[in-house]
């Protein structure tokens, strides 16, 4: 009995210490964002340097400048939107196609196809980026949106596996019934089978949207003439280091963050259930 009591007391002490540490960590995550938010309403650098934590002045000028300034933020916003809307869509569509083709039919080469789609998960070769760049350049798709979207048409191991298992678990009688009623293969696929995976598709799509919106290296390398918000913020921050306006940069950052925060709070549970990656934030 004594032992249990001791363990309980130990538990309580450690949990309290952890609680304090968690609070500190949470503060380090939130405060920089709040700091940027406050300072995005300042007139200029001097006001910002003078007091970084108070609304000493309030102006929406920096947000107005986003749309009227020389940085062409509207263009960046459009580029970001084009990519973030199309990339998860094509990627989901072709993953669904591949999952359906492997899970719902029996044919000779099925095993090989399954193996092919899982390959990229297990084999990763270093040093391919320059070759992809060269390849896109050779086929004339470098610096075009189409090039980046085309690269997303593949089937990545994880998404494929998810849709594969969804279709595998749907009884084939559903599609057979639809076919007897005269629906074609495509119609059965799009109207009967795909809707059954719609929760998963939505979650994956939102994750894809966020990933593409926040991506830096893809658009930076392959779409250099059409900066997205991520690439643009980096460029603007480089100018700020040389004496540009911090508050204006912060307004830009807030603009880039807001859609993500909205999505996060709207789909929080869903996002957390599908994000089972890991590793270093990149």
């Amino acid at each position: 009995m004594n032992k249990i009591k001791k363990a309980k007391r130990e538990n309580r002490v450690i949990m309290s210490v952890l609680f304090v540490l968690f609070c500190i960590y949470a503060a380090t995550l939130l405060l920089p964002l709040i700091w940027m938010f406050i300072n995005s309403f300042k007139h200029d650098n001097n006001e910002f340097f003078y007091d970084q934590w108070k609304f000493t002045s309030f102006t929406l000028n920096n947000y107005k400048l986003l749309f009227t300034g020389d940085n062409n933020v509207i263009g960046m916003l459009i580029n970001s939107l084009i990519l973030s809307l199309s990339i998860p869509t094509v990627s989901a569509f072709f993953s669904l196609c591949a999952g359906h083709a492997v899970a719902s039919f029996d044919y000779k080469l099925k095993g090989i196809v399954y193996f092919i789609f899982l390959m990229p998960m297990f084999v990763s070769v270093a040093g391919t980026t320059p070759y992809v760049y060269k390849l896109l350049n050779d086929i004339g798709l470098l610096d075009t949106h189409i090039g980046l979207i085309l690269m997303a048409c593949g089937v990545s191991g994880f998404g494929f596996l998810m849709y594969y298992s969804v279709f595998k678990n749907i009884s084939r009688t559903y599609s057979e019934a639809a076919m007897i009623d005269g629906a074609g293969y495509w119609r059965t696929f799009l109207q009967i089978l795909v809707p059954q995976a719609k929760n998963l598709i939505a979650a994956q799509w939102v994750m894809g949207f966020i990933g593409t919106w926040n991506d830096f290296s893809g658009p930076y390398l392959f779409l250099n003439s059409y900066p997205t918000l991520g690439v643009g913020v980096k460029e603007i921050s480089d100018n700020v280091d040389k004496g540009g306006s911090y508050p204006e940069l912060f307004a830009n950052i807030i603009l880039m963050m807001i859609p993500m925060l909205v999505l996060y709070f709207a789909f929080q549970k869903k996002i957390m259930t599908v994000s089972l990656g890991g590793g270093i934030k990149g």
Binding site: F49, C153, L221, G278, I280
Partner: protein, 322 residues
Amino acid sequence: MAKTAIKQSILKPRKNLRRNLFIISLLVVPLLHFVVFWLYVNAKTISLAFYDFDPWSNSYKFVGIQNFVEQFRHFRERPETLKMFINAFRAIPINLACLVLAVIIGYAFSKHIYGERVFRVIFYLPSMISIVILTLCYRYMFMYNPGMLEGPAAMLLRMLGVNYNGWQTASDDPQVISNIWWLISIFCVWASAGINIILMSSAMSRIPEEVIESAKLDGVGFWRELFQIHIPLIMPTVSVFLVNSMMAVSAFYLQPMLILGTNPGPSAYNTVGWYMFYMAPKAQNSDMPTISTVGFILTVSVSLLVIIVKKVTDKLTPDVDF
């Protein structure tokens, strides 16, 4: 009966043809993508490690392992080429630090620490924000430009009496290099905890309640429960994490690059991934064999590490089903 059998045998080939056409139409784009962006690119990357570019004939010539011999000679003669590899492998200890943190935090979550829900939401927040923004946040927090911007973290350090001289510009002084690598590593751990916590705590949530209950009745303490019950039972997840983190070695470049804010950075901060990223837009035909050789060496060493890690974690995984 006989009639339907005949009907079926006539209809079947046509039906099969339509079905096969449908399957082909489903698969044609993903398979083409695989052939072009995976098979072709990878085959080209690997094979060119064994070729050299001949400018006179404007073509590649097979040279066997000569590129590798040369690369290993460079390791001895030009330390920066070796540095690139060493820096890339820094991703592994960083990942391990992330893992330890994620396990402890996930464990506290599984024990329903006070405010668990709020912490969960806040800790995951960095995963929603672009790394560009996160690195900028981090930089400005520690920025110290006398007379201009003094970031809050720098201010705090000064008030605590730490002799902090600001975000040091990258230089070749070994002390500065080590400081900056510490800053980069801390950033990575700071920014990546969230996604790993999700991974670990969802693995822990699958541990059956009875196991934990019975440990509680035996008066097992906080740490003993973690080390003897939770960690062994989430070993499969840890194993996957470790394998992924080995593979992350070749993709480790955005963090140092964005924190330093320069491209290309001084050689002391270069990683293999950064080298690839830097070379991609400007590589000429004659650079391709070197790129391939560097990539090949990294691929082989990472694969060896993955095999070792798999062997070790398989040994550590208890043979239980739940």
